[in-house]
Symmetry: C2
Subunit: 227 residues, 2 copies
């Protein structure tokens, strides 16, 4: 093993995990796709420590060399997968909330919007809980601390904007802090609800509880009265 990748204790200024080569032809784009898919499969089956590049290549029906044409090292595979996941969450959020202050403003109250968002994210996570477990709980993220990618920042900003739209209903004073609490809470609890052993109830009930938690903090109101 060549220590270049283990930058934690070596390089003070870690290089960004950029693809070594950009796939131009459709052939190579399919190859990259196959590699990522295989990575997800192997990761799901064997966890982070059980995953190695040779195996990923084999499962993708590709040679190791090809993997290293497009990914500078093993962790870049995971980073790419994580980024893809973040993008999916971002997309799900936009679908649930709409873009901020777009035409035809969303007139629902804050609680309803939160419920949509939590529902959407829960659903997205239930697709591959074990993969998310590995990505969130096993991946070291040496060089690229999670929650710092542009996509993650986009998510934070959208939440911030949501609180801003509803600032009249929102009790906490510091919007920075309120955003932080929101994002951390949603991510943690959604992951905890979905990955084994999971919440001690149905996914719907867990979603309800998360919404109650968030709405209670933001609006200082008891959970919604039953109809």
């Amino acid at each position: 093993m060549i220590p270049v990748a283990n930058s934690r204790s070596d390089s003070p200024m870690p290089s960004l995990p950029q693809p070594r080569r950009i796939p131009r032809q459709s052939r190579s784009r399919a190859l990259v796709e196959a590699i990522l898919e295989a990575t997800a499969r192997v990761l799901t089956e064997r966890g982070y420590a059980g995953t190695n590049t040779n195996l990923v290549a084999e499962r993708a029906g590709v040679s190791v060399g090809s993997v290293y044409q497009y990914f500078p090292n093993k962790d870049a595979l995971l980073t790419a997968l994580h980024e893809r996941h973040a993008a999916e969450m971002h997309a799900a959020m936009e679908r649930a909330l709409g873009s901020p202050s777009a035409a035809g403003a969303d007139t629902r109250d804050l609680r309803s919007k939160l419920a949509s968002l939590v529902q959407a994210w829960l659903a997205a996570h239930r697709v591959a809980p074990e993969l998310h477990r590995v990505l969130e709980k096993e991946f070291p993220f040496f060089d690229a601390p999670a929650d710092q990618s542009p996509t993650d920042q986009g998510i934070r900003q959208r939440i911030r904007a949501l609180l801003d739209e509803h600032r009249s209903e929102v009790v906490p004073q510091d919007p920075e802090l309120a955003t932080w609490v929101m994002v951390q809470t949603m991510e943690s609890l959604i992951h905890a609800a979905v990955i084994p052993p999971g919440a001690p109830c149905s996914a719907e009930a867990a979603g309800q509880a998360i919404v109650d938690l968030l709405a209670g903090y933001l609006c200082g109101q008891a959970r919604r009265a039953l109809p």
Copy 2:
């Protein structure tokens, strides 16, 4: 490397990480202590992947062989450290809340008790944030899923008892679910507040916010009015 330790894909029934030999003389107890201390230091400096048993032994001023006298494999070191941390949290909790239904019952309201607990845990975590980061976010926990040790269960039970004591003030119906929400939220947000980049505010403010979040969920009341 011998595959015995990597049980994820191999052994269906992983053996418990019991010490290979129990230290009887004070000499060996000191040795075990030195090993754990060194593990914590190395883990803090170099992260999970950068930590190896040879280095730990060297840093502890001990030979590798001695490490393997008392710990069956590398992960057992981490597990021991994690268990020790859980025990500290348990102790801090007992100090903050007292044992349930003990003589001289604690007459404070739920919110005050929550505030004590959050304060105590925050303080305990601020001692070695980087170590906690590694323990919580890098350690794979192959065989012993976190939050399943007897100590962790003890923590859950105590929280459950707390909610029970105050069941008249508590709004959520399902106590199982409420306990789960509490524990998950506290652990996640306290970790997030302490480990870099941390909360966008002082530790005190973060603590306040966490208490607001929990109290809002449990009691359905707005944050405490300023005096």
